[in-house]
């Protein structure tokens, strides 16, 4: 790499008085004085959330309104800060459509004071049941308030489109005799 020594031009008298520089600076700031504000006034205006944003983790339901989580506890296992606590429960046999799924979460708590929004739970979930969605503002007055329970998680998550309907297919296959 060649080093090219540049001769620095001596400053002219006008430049040494520092005044033209101040004048041009004043011009710039005056331009900014009349320029439109670039601040977003937050509570009234909300930012547009880009796709792929990792907000608060939530549980979602499939388009038929059934809960997708089968409480396999993979997310609990993978969660680096151990924010997720799942109490597995059985799906009662009196729901024939769902009986073959066998398990669903009895309780599902995510402690948002521990969560680091890494998205590993979403990545690891075999059922595509947990998603980090657009919710970015988690506030609460007590520690207890900052723990999202199951109903709150479903309320936040809502329903997302599903392409697989994995358990429906399994049920179909079972009915038609080619279960693996």
């Amino acid at each position: 790499m060649a080093v090219i020594p540049l001769e620095r031009k001596p400053l002219s008298f006008a430049e040494r008085t520092y005044l033209p520089a101040i004048a041009s600076g004043l011009k710039t700031t005056l331009k900014h004085l009349f320029a439109p504000n670039i601040t977003m006034e937050y509570p009234e205006q909300r930012p547009a959330i880009p796709p792929g944003y990792r907000g608060v983790p939530t549980l979602v339901k499939d388009p038929h309104g059934r809960e997708k989580c089968v409480s396999c506890q993979l997310c609990e296992f993978v969660c680096p800060p151990k924010a997720i606590r799942i109490t597995p429960g059985e799906i009662p046999a009196d729901a024939p459509e769902r009986a073959h799924v066998e398990k669903g979460p009895q309780a599902f708590d995510i402690d948002m004071l521990r969560c680091i929004y890494c998205g590993l739970c979403q990545e690891v979930c075999p059922e595509e049941a947990i998603f980090l969605q657009n919710q970015y503002s988690m506030t609460g007055y007590t520690r207890e308030e900052m723990v999202n329970h199951k109903d709150r998680l479903y309320e936040l998550g809502g329903t997302l489109p599903d392409e697989h309907f994995k358990w429906d297919k399994k049920l179909d296959a079972e009915k038609h005799g080619n279960a693996h």
Binding site: L26, T28, T29, L30, H32, L33, N37, I38, E41
Partner: protein, 382 residues
């Protein structure tokens, strides 16, 4: 009305005038702090404070939200906060001087206001009579003398805080203020050489300077900023340094001194320092307006008397008085805006640069300017 006022006992009039000073300076200084926040915000592309809204204004349909957006009521909110905050007194300070310092800051700020004429009216004979609280013949000298006492508040605050950053701030402030006082005083001497022409009684009165900028003729009507641009420049730069404003706010310098001399202060004591700073700005801008910007004359070569005649109000002293006060205050506010504008334009100097500028640039320039104008004025007024 006026007769009734002048028939009141002297002590009562003095009391009224004293209260008038406080009631004018405090709100204007408060509004300056608000304007500072707002102008800073606009220059930085922010909307600035725009939330506070008292209940009784919220009912006014269009004006209320407009004033809210303008942040007018943050002035009250700020003042209220300053008043009701816990006024803590750190354990390691020298209590007497610690409490004394903000009081000392306010005293020269409020005292100098009295010597600055702020308007004029036309008497029956068409003479321009300046308005002011105290008509001292040595006007400018009084302003300089009393405002130079303001340095003690910074020194005392820095020293009494008994902590290293405020101390450094106090030391810097004292050195800086003394350095720039010289250039400032020398820069206005040409103005007074010009207005103390032979055959006239000698005067340092600020009103006299305005009178000289409202004479007929090309040189008579020109504001002194056109006749003496170098003097005006030196005065303005020194004014920035004397009022501890950017780019000369070495005494605060939050980047290197935490908060400077008022690091240990909070609540209303801290607020007093800022009211004093804005009051100094106000008075400095007023003096600059009177000396170089034609005082209460609306435009160069257009005097107040001509302007009043144009509006057909020359016979109404009260209207002319209010008009002149309006013009004067307009210029002062424009200058204060300039202070804020410069604040967000020029980065803070380093301390050695401040000293170099003061002693090696401005002082010789002021002396050279003085000599040049002394010769020029001697030739012209021969």
């Amino acid at each position: 009305m006026a007769d009734f006022y002048f028939n009141l006992p002297l002590w009562f009039r003095l009391l009224v005038q004293g209260f008038a000073v406080i009631m004018v300076v405090f709100p204007i200084a408060g509004f300056c702090s608000l304007a500072e926040r707002k102008v800073s915000a606009w220059i930085q592309g922010r909307p600035g404070p725009n939330r506070a809204l008292p209940v009784f204004i919220a009912w006014v349909p269009v004006l209320g939200p407009f004033l809210q957006r303008l942040g007018i009521f943050h002035f009250m909110a700020d003042g209220g906060k300053m008043l009701f905050k816990e006024d803590s007194l750190p354990g390691h300070v020298n209590k007497f001087y610690f409490i004394l310092a903000p009081i000392v800051a306010m005293m020269p700020a409020l005292t100098t206001v009295t010597t600055v004429p702020f308007g004029a009216y036309l008497d029956a004979a068409g003479q321009v009579i300046p308005l002011g609280l105290a008509r001292v013949d040595i006007g400018l000298l009084a302003v300089f003398a009393v405002s130079s006492l303001g340095v003690y508040s910074l020194i005392l605050a820095g020293w009494a805080s008994n902590s290293k950053y405020p101390f450094l701030g106090g030391v810097r402030a004292s050195a800086q203020l003394i350095s720039y006082e010289l250039a400032m005083t020398l820069s206005v001497v040409p103005v007074f050489l010009w207005i103390n022409s032979p055959g006239m009684p000698g005067t340092m009165s600020l009103a006299r300077a305005v009178e000289f900028q409202s004479l007929p003729g090309f040189f008579g009507g020109a504001w002194f900023i056109f006749i003496m641009p170098v003097a005006a420049l030196i005065f303005l730069v020194s004014l920035f340094a004397e009022t501890n404003r950017h780019p000369f706010d070495m005494a605060e310098g939050e980047a290197d001194l935490v908060g400077g001399f008022h690091t240990e202060y909070g609540a209303f004591k801290w607020g007093l320092f800022f009211v004093a700073e804005y009051a100094h700005m106000l008075i400095g801008s007023g003096v600059f307006t009177l000396l170089f910007l034609g005082g209460w004359n609306p435009l160069p070569w257009v005097t107040l008397a001509q302007f009043a005649a144009l509006l057909h109000v020359a016979q109404l002293p009260l209207v002319v008085g209010l008009l002149s006060i309006g013009i004067f205050l307009g210029k002062v506010i424009a200058l204060i805006f300039f202070f804020m504008w410069v604040r967000w334009t020029v980065p803070r100097f380093r301390y050695d640069q401040v000293m170099k500028l003061g002693w090696q640039k401005l002082l010789p320039l002021a002396i050279a300017n003085l000599i040049a104008y002394a010769i020029g004025i001697a030739v012209i007024q021969k």
